[in-house]
């Protein structure tokens, strides 16, 4: 796949770039890697069921967006909970007037990438690009080469952030044809706790590429809850990679919700590198029309007595196509590993389809690892049960479709978010308000 079309843009970005001397070097390494790898093709094992031709064929432009005219009122539906700490980016640019994070504990550092690069370049250098490897990942390399304003969060030792931090990425007509490469670096130091909500939404229906990378370090005894909502424009392309490293007795919970974009790929990768650490990776995708959504998870059990739990569900209508690929690697040292992966897809139409591929590589012997996948239609018996109580066929189907989603939405521990998504899914399928 051609990558040369980005070379000129890259040269220009590099020339205009600011920051410490190591940064252009990192970018150059990344761009060289992107150039060498090219966009993935369906011959790559990790992209077997997802063709990125629609992305590779176009040249999305780097943009320097003007300050937005959008107001909080325009974004009301996307704020989820107005009390959360909030960073709002519009077309990749931070909008201070729409953001509010003054209420965060003083010890917690939240800054844009460019601020962090100015104020603590050595600290940033120590972390940035070290968790999110780009040697085999073209999109991560592309993000690293072009990343602009991202977010850097550092939660110091023992600090518990009670209120969620919401990073809201909005795109609108200004982003037509653009490539946006959001970057997020989160470092939760030992025993620190943070709840992060990362939303990607659109106003209107522009066509653009969001290629997001998040690097998250969860140190010993720390906990990060990470909710990602992909509600891009129906014409958009979204590639998102989350790469996590976990220390001893740490907890990382991820919930990935996807209902937007024409084509999307969401990667959630975690390395259980410390004894007794736990990862829970859940997700729900809801597709219709010609949408394509691909989710890949990769859990590396690299230490003893770690637990991983995965539950992904998909609801597919129209001619949509879902892909789920759950990879688990259990290192020879990772005895007493406890891993469970489940993925279920509900097909609502004749033409929708799902490809699902669990991949387990287990090199330790004292291991409990299970996986299960189901793809199917609504079951007859629950339908009959509802109908036998007077509920009409259409309502019964809608209710059971909602119920299918509810099982995984229930695992969302942030009330405002869970309720928002439950209502959204309920209304989407029943066309009734939920009260």
């Amino acid at each position: 796949m051609p990558t040369t079309s980005y070379a000129d843009q890259f040269a220009a970005a590099l020339a205009a770039g600011e920051g410490p001397a190591w940064l252009p070097a990192l970018r150059e390494r990344a761009f060289a890697r992107f150039h060498a790898l090219g966009f993935p093709t369906t011959r790559d094992e990790d992209w077997h069921f997802t063709s990125v031709t629609p992305i590779a064929e176009r040249t999305f432009k780097a943009i320097r967006p003007a300050a937005t005219t959008l107001t909080l009122a325009d974004l009301e539906a996307h704020l989820l909970d107005p009390d959360w700490h909030r960073l709002v980016f519009v077309n990749g640019r931070l909008e201070p007037a729409l953001s509010t994070f003054a209420g965060l504990p003083a010890e917690v550092q939240v800054s844009t990438l460019s601020e962090a690069l100015r104020e603590q370049p050595e600290w940033v250098q120590k972390h940035l690009g070290t968790l999110a490897a780009f040697d085999t990942a073209a999109f991560t390399a592309l993000n690293t080469a072009f990343m602009q304003d991202g977010v850097v969060v550092r939660v110091p030792k023992g600090e518990v952030v009670e209120v969620a931090l919401h990073i809201l990425h909005v795109t609108d007509a200004q982003a037509q044809g653009a490539a946006i490469h959001p970057r997020l670096l989160v470092v939760a130091e030992p025993l620190a706790q943070l709840t992060l909500v990362e939303s990607h939404v659109a106003v209107g229906a522009p066509s653009y590429l969001v290629n997001a990378v998040a690097e998250i370090s969860v140190a010993n005894g720390a906990r990060v809850d990470h909710y990602k909502l992909q509600r891009e424009s129906a014409e958009a392309y979204h590639v998102g990679t989350v790469q996590v490293t976990q220390g001893r007795d740490s907890i990382y919970h991820s919930f990935s919700f996807a209902e937007g974009a024409a084509l999307s790929r969401t990667n959630v990768y975690t390395k259980l590198a410390g004894t007794g650490s736990e990862a829970r990776l859940n997700g729900l995708y809801v597709l219709d029309g010609a949408q394509h959504a691909d989710h890949q998870t990769f859990v590396e059990h690299l230490a003893e007595a770690c637990a991983s739990r995965e539950l992904y569900k998909g609801i597919l209508d129209g001619e949509s196509h879902g892909v789920f690929n759950g990879k688990v690697y259990v290192d020879p040292v990772a005895q007493r590993t406890d891993g469970k992966q489940t993925n279920k897809a509900l097909i609502l139409s004749e033409k929708a389809r799902v490809d699902t591929k669990p991949q387990l590589e287990i090199f330790a012997d004292d291991v409990k690892c299970t996986h299960g996948a189901t793809v199917g239609r609504l079951e007859q018996l629950p339908l009959f049960y509802l109908k036998s109580r007077g509920i009409g066929a259409e309502n019964a189907r809608a209710l059971l479709t909602y119920a299918f989603a509810a099982e995984v939405l229930e695992t969302i521990e942030v009330d405002a978010l869970r309720v928002t998504l439950e209502k959204a899914i309920f209304e989407r399928f029943t066309h009734h308000r939920m009260d």
């Binding site: 007859q380 109908k387 007077g390 989603a405 509810a406």
Partner: protein
């Protein structure tokens, strides 16, 4: 109220009901007894409109309508209720939502206004008492994680809310301890009216000490092999089913 005439039904290519005739009038309680596998649940499910059974012959008239012509939801809206032998778990839908949705569907079918969640609370408060169920059940998913007894009680709770004309209780006594059995039976008795009728399906006589039937029918091999009064149940309790099966050629 209900007239079943020479009903034949099959599933998976196998004939299960082989000519059943039965007439039930308002105010009556009929018990249907019989050994396992005799077709009792099949009869109950066919009355309720389960799509997995094919009616290959005969008819069911209900309140002047051809019942077999109606979809399952239309039968429910017309007042037919089946308490399932194996109530279905529906994780993700609360009992409260489910019951109110069903209640409102029936009201709509009668041309009445729907009730909102607040109004429904009052309805529920009264009905929960009938089966001595705690209000906390309302916030749990339908039957999900319920014990066997809780599921059966939940069926009778639904019956109390939906107030059917014809209730078919399929093995509602199985899996119940004696206290739960008494509560469920008393619930059913409280709901009894001169204008409705009940079919109690069971293979033990025990339940019939509490819900006293006007008629008892013995089903074997897909046919009714004997009908009688409530004393037939006692006779079955004492002698078992075999004495009826052999002469009937089952």
């Amino acid at each position: 109220m209900l007239t079943i005439t020479d009903l034949h039904a099959s599933a998976g290519g196998k004939e299960i009901l082989k000519g059943i005739s039965l007439t039930i009038n308002a105010g009556e309680v009929h018990a249907i007894m019989g050994p396992n596998g005799s077709g009792k649940s099949t009869l109950a499910q066919v009355i309720a409109g389960h799509p997995g059974y094919e009616v290959t012959g005969g008819s069911i008239a209900y309140e002047g309508q051809d019942l077999l012509d109606l979809e399952a939801e239309e039968r429910a809206q017309a007042g037919v209720f089946l308490a399932f032998q194996y109530p279905v778990e529906i994780p993700g839908v609360t009992n409260a939502y489910f019951l109110r949705a069903a209640y409102n569907e029936l009201r709509k079918a009668r041309g009445e206004d729907e009730v909102d969640p607040i109004e429904f609370l009052d309805v529920m408060e009264e009905k929960l008492k009938v089966v001595e169920m705690d209000a906390s059940f309302m916030q749990r998913s339908v039957n999900a994680g319920f014990s066997g007894g809780e599921k059966k009680r939940n069926e009778i709770l639904q019956m109390a809310v939906l107030d059917p004309k014809l209730a078919v209780l399929d093995e509602t006594d199985s899996g119940l301890d004696i206290d739960a059995l008494r509560i469920v039976a008393e619930g059913v008795n409280k709901l009894k009216k001169p204008t409705n009728a009940t079919i109690v399906v069971t293979h033990y006589q025990r339940l019939l000490n509490y819900i006293v039937p006007d008629f008892v029918h013995v089903l074997a091999g897909g046919r009714i092999v004997r009908s009688g009064g409530k004393e037939l149940a006692l006779e079955l309790e004492a002698k078992g089913y075999d004495w009826l099966l052999e002469p009937a050629g089952v």
